[in-house]
Symmetry: C4
Subunit: 266 residues, 4 copies
């Protein structure tokens, strides 16, 4: 998640081996995550899937789960301080050892996106906006899948088709919440909770991006602070040459004045 | 849209011909957009419209669609780098070639407003607030028309009159979402999705405008940054005249001291 | 409204007579507004009010309406540029000449609060927070009254008691919008629209106040900008005395050097 | 509450005895609050509790209420200006003397968390985010308990189990508000009102934290203000040594020039 990454960016960074591993594995990890999403999505969107394909999807998901587990173990081994690594990445572990909640594993996909985040150099405001938009679309899509998986076939549930699930996810992430559709199972509500949190974070990112841009655009102080720095550099240059000149003069004047005060020059 | 314009404002600007074309066509384009909105709105608000008027509205909308297409082609021809122009304006093209979704064309009207945006010099905070307010009213009006067009006459729909559609749009753009009214068709929900996004952007603009204003008003740093710049200019002047004076003196003193150190003056 | 006041604060301020009038009338205007609110609220909260008291309330409301009209005329006469005054205060006039919408007159009470706003010196962040809180409570109370006035006794309405109306207003201003209660009349929905807008403004004020405070508290730049200004003042003093000293020395050195370079001193 | 603490931080601070008392009592107070929460939660979550345990919980809650009252009295006695203390802590008193509303006492627990707030040195942005997250979880848990306590067993209520109450609280604090569940009693609605307010504050804290971080990260002015301060320190040092040098030279030159201008040196 964007803010979490940013806020804990004060973490100790002497993790060269870990970083190299991440750089090497990011493309395969992204591919595996995309495959996982596909294998998760297909049987949910198409309930009349053939038993063979259903099994293939299950096998693919299991394989990728093993892969993610192996990646975690390698990262743990590479980490300079393992206990700290485990503490910082407790969520990765939780998802790996709690595989009964299939929908939780989707969160892992979003976390792989988090790896991308570090590569994507989020130093430009426009990139943050684009990244937040892409994350929102992915979160809504995953939440729709997960809630449909949890709710379909449950007595009393109102979310029964994928378009309905997408509509529900869109009304939820924006905190509109009409209430024409809502989850009734515990797992569906857990998915909704993740979606609420993502919605609040999304609203926050939109507003904060605009706010930082407006502060730059409208606030006199911001502009003048940048201008001041430029002027400051010039002034420092000015004073330095003044001092050099004086030192030079001092040498000459000192000769003229019979070396008086020569000991006090720094 | 306000933020999109702002965030991509780093685009290369050597498009004098394009700019001149825009300046020339902005008034006719606005008029055409208003006419389009009228021709779109009338048959929706008044379902008992005479067949002749209905046909007139259809003809007007088709004519304006052709006009917008011609405008796109002219702009494409005027653009210095056509491929980049097409990439940056992919949304214009999408709307032009996807005319089966009539409601999407309303988005074009709002994009024409986007042209206005560039003229309107959004450099004052109050202008941004006014512009956001006007955009919100227009978006709510267009969304009410589009959702009514999509929902009326569909079995199970609850939005059946224009006042109801307006009420629904207002509860949606503010993310209140009572749920007494909600769209049930795919097209109606697509309209709602656009409206959600506009609502979040609107909330963001309101909050960000206030935040940048409060930062300017309350934060000591802002005020002192502006004051510092003024003082900095004075100080630089001071140091410069000090140096000039010293140089002058140096010339005099140099004579007195028998030209000592004369070679070291810059 | 807070933000409107602030954003248009660039208005030309040579309105001494107008200001004096406002200072004189603010206490009676506040009292009249409170009386108006009481006379408006009583028959709505207590539907079984005696006919005599009902009439008394009507008379009081009419009297205060006349008073507000007189105040408008006096202010119009005192204004240096009357046309500009009328343009800037178009909303006051609208409410005065549109008295069929009784609920709109409640807005006037909030505008009287706006007068108070100018007195209350909203230069401290804590004051803005307090003022926004008080305004939110007043807006919720007025909206509950107005919506109950509009909805009670209408077929199909669900807001029928004052506690229900208060609950509805609270769920609306915070944009929660459960949808257990919602207005069904045009006037009730107009009240809701005002309440939505107030809700968005309220959310914006809360977030913006926190944001400006966090920027001050957490952002190094802010603190250092203030510190820089202090240091800048010291440095300027330093350079000035350096120059004065040099000028003094120059005079001495000039004498010693036989007045060389004396013409070049500024 | 976070913002309230921060906004009123201008309060006169010569309250050494009060601070010492708070430091001594914070751990027992936290323990008492946790015990109170447990004793409050148990009979609500488990309606089939044995009568003996129910009584034990009631006794524990009464005991802690007495403890909180004693703490208030000690703090009142220790305060340098008692009247001001009572005014600033009016809410503590209100909760103590209004014990018929059991759910209100939960607010006290959150206020004890407020004490912690002062200890937790909320000077880092990440700490504020963590604190806000923890407060949100606690508020949602307490609100779920309180609303279930108020609603269960009331005719027409829809919140009847603890999972439902938690779900309702989560949809409310995020201002989603589906409306599948909502309180119908006056006490339940009061709880909802507190939860709305917390939700708005939470949204505000999330957005404001992000905004202050984005302003630091993206806005040139911020960075250059910090850089300027560093440069300013260097420049001031430069000018000071320039002046010292000049003074030293002046002494020498003064000797050479026959003490001319010696009276003008500061």
């Amino acid at each position: 998640m964007i803010e979490a990454e940013g806020l804990r960016s004060e973490a100790p960074p002497d993790e060269a081996a870990l970083d190299r591993w991440r750089r090497l594995t990011i493309v395969p990890m992204m591919a595996a995550a995309a495959l996982f999403l596909g294998a998760y999505a297909w049987p949910i969107i198409d309930p009349g899937i053939a038993a063979g394909w259903q099994r293939a999807c299950d096998v693919a998901m299991f394989g990728i789960w093993v892969l993610f587990g192996a990646d975690y173990l390698v990262r743990l081994r590479l980490a300079p301080r393992r206990w700290e690594f485990a503490k910082r990445n407790w969520f990765d572990l939780l998802i790996l050892v709690a595989p009964m909640l299939r929908s939780l594993r989707l969160v892992q996909i979003i976390m792989v996106l988090g790896l991308l985040d570090k590569r994507a150099g989020l130093t430009l405001r426009a990139n943050v906006a684009r990244y937040a938009g892409a994350a929102a679309v992915l979160v809504v899509f995953c939440a729709a899948l997960a809630v449909l998986d949890a709710e379909r076939g449950v007595a009393g549930s109102v979310i029964r088709t994928f378009p309905d699930a997408l509509w529900w996810a869109a009304t939820t992430v924006t905190t509109v919440g009409y209430g024409d559709l809502y989850p009734v199972t515990a797992e569906g509500r857990l998915v909704a909770g993740v979606l609420f949190t993502a919605g609040i974070a999304l609203l926050g990112v939109v507003t904060a991006t605009l706010a930082s841009w407006f502060v730059e655009k409208f606030n006199e102080g911001q502009e003048s602070a940048a201008a001041t720095q430029k002027q400051m550099a010039e002034l420092t240059e000015e004073v330095r040459s003044l001092r050099a000149e004086l030192a030079a003069r001092g040498a000459g004047a000192g000769i003229a004045a019979g070396e008086a005060g020569s000991g006090r020059r720094p």
